[in-house]
Symmetry: D3
Subunit: 175 residues, 6 copies
């Protein structure tokens, strides 16, 4: 029998504990999850400070830390298209065949449903603290953010001097 | 100690036994290989009949068939850029950190070396028969091509009716 | 003697009674009007919820409802260019030959005049209520908007479930 | 009851008697035909010498010459996308809703069928002489081409000095 | 011995006395300066009202007015890329070889340093008044701005009716 | 009285003695020449092996070698556009105001004339040997090419190891 496969779409800027909980939740519903690193071309912006390669690394390190079975997930970067009507086709072309989409984004849900593809919501997990925006803000304010991301993600961001990067990009934003 | 990582760049249209031998060879030299599916945006063309998602699937199925340790490889699609001078930066942004590039392509080698990045050649394996062009031609001529690709790749191409697709795309080319 | 032709440029998101009045007004001045659906690539955004195809349909239905002579207008979608200096050339290439431009937009007027092409203003018709922004806002607030658009446009938006679309896209905007 | 609508896709470089026959044929099968001027951005090339606006004009003039009911057709230019997997979505977004596609192009047929959309072939009409390539070649060789296109198209190409344009573009090709 | 060369990157919308002071300062440190007109594709926007050609002309006129030795500078327009990771490669490809970058922009500094290229800051000169934003605002308010730019730049902006252009573009912004 | 200015458009891959003769010839007809480095984005291709920055450097070195007055020329790189109808607007936006275009290219001449801009031809100088294609071929065949380019251009190409680059790019072409 064919395996059931889902895709989970995010920007992961950075990958945090809420994303991890979502993936664990999705893995209770499907055999395999394809984690789509959206807006793959964006980087070095205050809202998207990390490259696709760095975001892939964060996800890989976090899932290894959790000892999640490597045969149950894939990570695929997908760049944006220049107009929303091409976006579902872009996803379909870049990722292996899937049965269902997991997302809480209204536009994502709207576009896939319109194309006749199943979309499931994912329960939010500590939504106020566990958002990428909140974490980037905490980094900027030098507030504690270590507990909000998997330990491996914390170490990786330290290793690539990501905190300093976010602060420099924020200055740019203010210029 | 940090793991040594290499990237192996191809278009994999389709993935064949020569690609598989190269990956095995690379894995004798590095701890991990990142397999870059280049020209990811191309598909439904006679020279690039398969989508990035389909090419990722072929590679995944072939490496599972060979029982290669999943912690030793990743597959990352990367779309082309509109000018060669941006290409190395594109690769660096889309894939996790790497130490060395494996390629036999002259332009690939030239561009990475110019950027100061190590490039290793890979011994060719039965080059005359094991080329994607040759395999697409055999498919067009209804000649035997099953032995030239991993069995899982053969089955996948059958499953998605890839033979018919290549024949239809070839008509387009002649129009 | 050659017919006098004008172009009328808008985004028509959605097409409303103010647009209709403008077209009637323009048709008192020229033999034929080419209605340019600008930013044709945009869709599924809160400010541009409808595809070019849907906007073309709205205009067609509205002009049929008014029984305007079909030999006196054409509808042509034109996508944006990535820099303003190419925009007049884009319009000239996409539409049949024309003599005069009808627009109230300052940039549109500036760019065409600079190129030596005549631009005429159009008297506004109930400008406060008859703006696409106002209509989208009324839809969001479930206020009455039916009287602001031609009856055929109202029915078409209902038929494609456009009200729900605008509400979903608005959520995205708030995310 | 809803009208049946078809789309007919071509590049029309230039519009000739074969295209005209196809449109008449299609109009025996559907209530309305949407004529899609494909590769709308291309122009001033030896294979695509005319702008989208000029191609729209040719089609309009030809159908007026034939006195075809204006309520039974629309003409819509659509620019290319940068990858084939986005092309069907591009067409769907740019044109009003349609039921069936008319085309003899293998790729067009393949892509629409794969998306689950009906595609009908159109009987060719004097295929050897009635091809845009043949007509452009005749123009280059100063051979007779007037009989191959509707009289209005011939006059329009003369009016915009199209013969000279094709000859100049051909020189460029040889440079 | 090889000459020391620096690049100085700006948008110069418009070129003002602060830019001029920076160039003089840089010329005390290097033999030649390459002045990069960034975002070269932008124009006819309220924040970038002038074309690259107009911005080049302003710089040329200002440096001629100051009688700066023509063998000590070049002016090179460079268009933006669609993602920050490609930007340093874009600059390197568009300009002659250089040794050091002069910039006060945080992102510019970050991206070049990350690539291992030296970046020097430039002392600001009357920063509050000498900013392009301030000068465009003064033009809008019909306040005195003549003393903030080189006399040749003032005359050139008058000659191309730039004041009126900025006012027209500002209306667009408010529409 | 205003100076008369001309633009001279080429790709300069590489800059050779024929280009130099053309510039000298143009300078007998105008006060200033703006040398447009076309297709500025292309590089590392067998037909366009050099970056825009390298091509600018070649022209600068060659004109310095000839001791041509620096106040009589400028060098401006201009990237291609994606459709010919935008190209004249692209040139106009990227370069300072000019009165006349110098070119022998049929398409260039056609597009500028159509826009109402004067175009002058330039007498060819030893056309068979002095073409960039011929020079790249001589480099590939290790035939003598030193005498076909200004001495400074020869030295610069040697300095950047351009001969090896052209040979490597040629292999790519054959792969």
């Amino acid at each position: 029998m064919d395996k059931k496969k889902g895709i989970y779409i995010g920007r992961f800027s950075p990958f945090h504990n809420g994303h991890l909980e979502s993936i664990k939740n999705i893995l209770t519903q499907v055999d395999e999850v394809i984690i789509v690193v959206g807006s793959a071309q964006l980087c070095y912006q205050i809202q998207n400070p990390f490259t696709a390669g760095e975001r892939i690394t964060m996800i890989k390190l976090a899932l290894e830390e959790e000892k999640i079975d490597k045969s149950r997930y894939m990570i695929v970067p997908v760049p944006d298209v220049d107009a929303h009507h091409k976006w579902v086709s872009q996803i379909i072309a870049y990722v292996p065949r899937f049965d269902v989409v997991y997302s809480n984004g209204s536009l994502v849900k709207y576009l896939f449903k319109q194309r006749g593809i199943s979309v499931n919501e994912i329960p939010f997990f500590k939504r106020e603290s566990l958002s990428a925006t909140n974490i980037r803000n905490k980094i900027l304010k030098r507030a504690d953010w270590r507990t909000l991301v998997p330990e491996n993600v914390y170490k990786f961001i330290e290793e690539i001097d990501g905190v300093n990067r976010i602060r420099e990009l924020n200055k740019t934003d203010e210029e």
